[in-house]
C-alpha cells in the first residue's frame, strides 16, 4: 500500500495522523481509498474530475502533471502539496 503524507491542514480528518496507508493503482483510487476510511478528504482534494485548483500531487518525489491519473506503486510515497506556479514545480 502506498504511504500518503497528509497536509497539516487536513490532519483533523485523519485523527491527527500525518501519514496513512492507502491502496490504489493511481492517485484517483488512492483518494477513493482515503475517502472510505477518512470521509471528507475527497472534497478537500478533488474538484470535479481533477485535483482541486491550488493543489499538486507528488508521487515518489516528483510533482506530476497527470494529477489523479498518475500511477501509484505498492511502495510509493504520495504527497498532496500546495501548487506552486501553476503546479509546474
Amino acid at each position: 500500500m502506498a504511504l500518503v503524507y497528509i497536509p497539516p491542514q487536513m490532519r483533523g480528518l485523519t485523527g491527527g495522523q500525518a501519514r496513512v496507508k492507502a491502496s490504489g493503482r493511481n492517485v484517483a483510487e488512492v483518494v477513493e481509498d482515503l475517502e472510505r476510511v477518512y470521509p471528507g478528504i475527497r472534497e478537500r482534494l478533488v474538484e470535479g474530475v481533477r485535483i482541486r485548483r491550488g493543489i499538486s500531487v507528488a508521487v515518489d518525489g516528483e510533482v506530476t502533471p497527470l494529477g489523479l491519473q498518475e500511477r501509484v506503486g505498492e511502495e510509493s510515497e504520495v504527497h498532496f502539496l500546495p501548487a506552486i506556479g501553476g503546479g509546474r514545480f
Binding site: 503524507y5 497536509p7 497539516p8 491542514q9 487536513m10 500525518a18 472534497e43 478537500r44 482534494l45 482541486r52 485548483r53 491550488g54 493543489i55 507528488a58 518525489g61 516528483e62 502533471p65 510515497e77 504527497h79 502539496l81 500546495p82 501548487a83 506552486i84 506556479g85 501553476g86 503546479g87 509546474r88 514545480f89
Partner: protein
Amino acid sequence: MAMRTSRRASAPAEGQYQIIGTRPLRHDAVDKVTGRAQYGADIYPSGVLPGRILRSPHAHARILFIDTSRAEALTGVRAVVTSRDFPSLEADQTLDMGEANFTLKALRDNVLASDKVLYKGHPVAGVVAVDDMIAEEALGLIRVEYEVLPPVISALEGMKAGAPLLHEDMHTDAFGKMSDAPSNVASHTQHSLGDEKRGFASADVVVEREFHTQAVHQGYIEPHNATVFWNQDGKVTVWCSTQGPFEVRDATAAVLGLPVSDVRLVPMEIGGGFGGKFEPYGEPVAALLSRKCGRPVRIIMSRTEEFESTGPTSGSYIRVKMGATREGKITAAQAYMAYEAGAYPGSPVGAGALCIFAPYNVPNLLIDALDVVVNKPKAAAYRAPGATNASFAAESVVDELAERLGLDPLDFRLRNAAKRGTRRADGIAYPRIGCQEVLEALKAHPHYRTPLTGPNRGRGVAAGYWMNGGGPSSCTIRVNADGTVYLSEGSPDIGGTRTSVAMQAAEVLGIPAEAVRPMVVDTDAGGYTSGTGGSSVTFKTGMAAHEAAQDVKRQMIARGADLWNVPPEKVVLERGVFRCTHDPKLSLSFAEMAEKLLETGAPIVGNATVRARGPGGAFAGCIVDVEVDPETGKVTILRCTVAQDAGRAIHPTYVEGQMQGGTVQGISWALSEEHAYNAAGAMMNATFLDYRVLTALDLPMIDTVIVEVPNPTHPFGVRGVGEVSIVPPAGALASAIYRAAGVRLDRLPMNPEVVKKAIAGRS
C-alpha cells in the same frame, strides 16, 4: 583585484565529452553585438499604428462609468477599446501560465479593468491612432468616473480586521477549506514535520526575529512590447517580447475567446525577463484595437508604466524562529510568511515556504504561508520567486544562532546541511543534491581563508536553494547536405540557451557546436514548449534536443547500414564518424553521410517531445566582504564569491554569467531596490532615476565556483542554473553588515539611510 576562478568539483572524466564543457561562441553573438538581432520594437508590419493605454490614477476605486465618445471623435483616432470589447466568458476558468496562475476573469481584468481598478496604473482603456501624439491626446479625452476607495498597501495592513477588501467575493482557501468571511488573504497553507514545540523545548539556544521586505522589480532593460495584427480571416499574429510564447498565446486566445490555433505568437529576441514576462499585458489590447481598426497595432510600455503596471515580486513580512543544541544541531524551525500578491492572488509565498529552510536538515518544522492581495500590480515571478525574501530572513537567524553558539557560520551550516534523503518542508525527500558540496567549496575558497582586516569591515556568508523546473518541450533537427543541422526549438533565448541546447545535440551527433544552427520558432512552427523560466531550458529543451539528436543518429545509422549493406547494429557513430564495426574501411564522417542522404533516400529529420521531470534542485552559497561608512551608511562591496551546483556545466562561461548576474541582482535587491509607495498607493520612484539598480560601477568582479553534482535524471547531469544565485546575497550581506557595523538589520533594502539610522540607534 579579485581573480575570476571556475573550479569544478566533479569534472567529467578526461575525454568523456567532446562538446559539453567547452566554450564555443554563442550562435546569436554577432547579431546581438551588431544590433541586427530583432527585438519586439524592431518589427514593422505594413501599416502598423501606435496604441496607448489609459491607466487608473487611483490605487483602489470602483469604475462608475467610462465615456470614450470624445476620444473616438478625435481626428486621427482609429479605435478605442475597453473591457466591454471582450467577449463574455465562462466563470472560474483557470490558466496555467508557466510561473503565473490566473483565473480568466482576473487575467482579463488585469489587462483591462471592468468594475474595479486595483492599483495605480491599472489599464482601463486602449486607443490606437495615426500617430503617437494623437493617441496621447485621445487618452486625455476618455472620461472615467471613479468612486475612490481606501487602498491596502501592505500584507499586514490587508490582514487586519476591517481592512478594505479588494475582492468582496474572495475567501481564504486553507487547502480546500474556504473561510466563512471574505478576506484579503487568498490562501493559507502550512507545512509541518515532526513536532516543533518539542523541538524548541530541546534546543539550548533559540532565536526569533521579524523581517520586512519591499516589492522589487525585475528591471529588464527592454520594456514589454506587443505588435498584433488581427487579420480579416480571423487569425491573429502577435510579435512580442516574452518568456512564454505558448503560455501568452494561450492566455491571449482565452482572453479574446479564440481557439489557440487562431493565434500565432512570434517570440522576438528578449532583452531580459527574469520571470516578469510570462503574462500578457498589451497583447490582448493591441489585438482588440487591431480588430477594430483593421491595421496592425503596436503597444510599447514606458519605464514608468513598467514600474506601475507590471508585476514586481512580492514585498513580505516574515517571522522566523530557529533552535539549536550547543553542539550546533538545529532542532526546530518555524516561519510565518505573509507575501503581497498584488491585485490578484498568486504571490510566490508557496515557493518561499519550500526554500526558507531548504539548505538544512530540520527534523521539527512548522511553516505558515499566506498569500495576501494588496493594491499594487499583481506580483510576478522574479528569479527564484519567493526564495530571496525567505532566505534573507532565515539566513540572518542562522547567522545569529551560529554566533551565539560560538561556531563558524559555514561549519554550522555544514553540520546541518541537507543531503539525499533529507525531508524538505513539504515532506518530500531530496534526491541527490549538492548542498554540502557548495558549502565545502566556499569553505575551501581562498576568499574564506583570507583574513579581512580594517575598520568597519565585515564578512558574511549564506546559503540558498531553488527547486528548478522542468515541463514539456519539443525539438526538431533537420540534417543539411553540408553536414550542418538546423535545430528548431520553442524556448526564447535567455542567457545563451540556444547555444547550450545546440551543444547537447552536437555532443550526441559528434559534430562541432557551430555545425548546429539553433533557431527559436513561433508557436505555429514548433511543438508545444513551456516557457523559459524556472531555470528549465538547458534541462528540458536540452533533453528534447538530446532525444531529437538520438532520433537523427538512429536514422543515419540505418542509412549507413543500407549504404554498406550491413545490419544496423553493425554501424556505430563515434565522435562524428559512422563506422562499420566489422570493416574499418567502411567509414564516413557525419558531413560525408549527410551529403549522401538525398541520393540514398528521404531527407532526415529527427523529432522529440519530452515532459522533463526530475530537475533536481540547486543550491548556491555566497561569501561577501563589505565596508560600512558609519557616517553615511553606505555599504561598499569589497569582495564577493559565489558557489553554485550546476549539475553539469554545459557551457561554463554562460553558467558563470548566470551566477554573476543573479548575484548582482541579489546584492542590488538587498542594498538598494524597492518600490516606494505613499499612503495613497502611488509608487513614488517609478523611473530608473529614483529606482536605484546597482550597476557595474558599484560592484567588484564576482568570483564564481561551479560545483558539479550531476543530476541523475538528465542525460548530461544538468541542473538549472539561472536563478539560485540571487537567493543568498541578502542574508550574506545582512551578516557582513552586522560584523562591520554591529547592527543586525531586519528589513530590505539595507540602503544607506536604513544602515545609518541603525548605527545611530545602536550608538
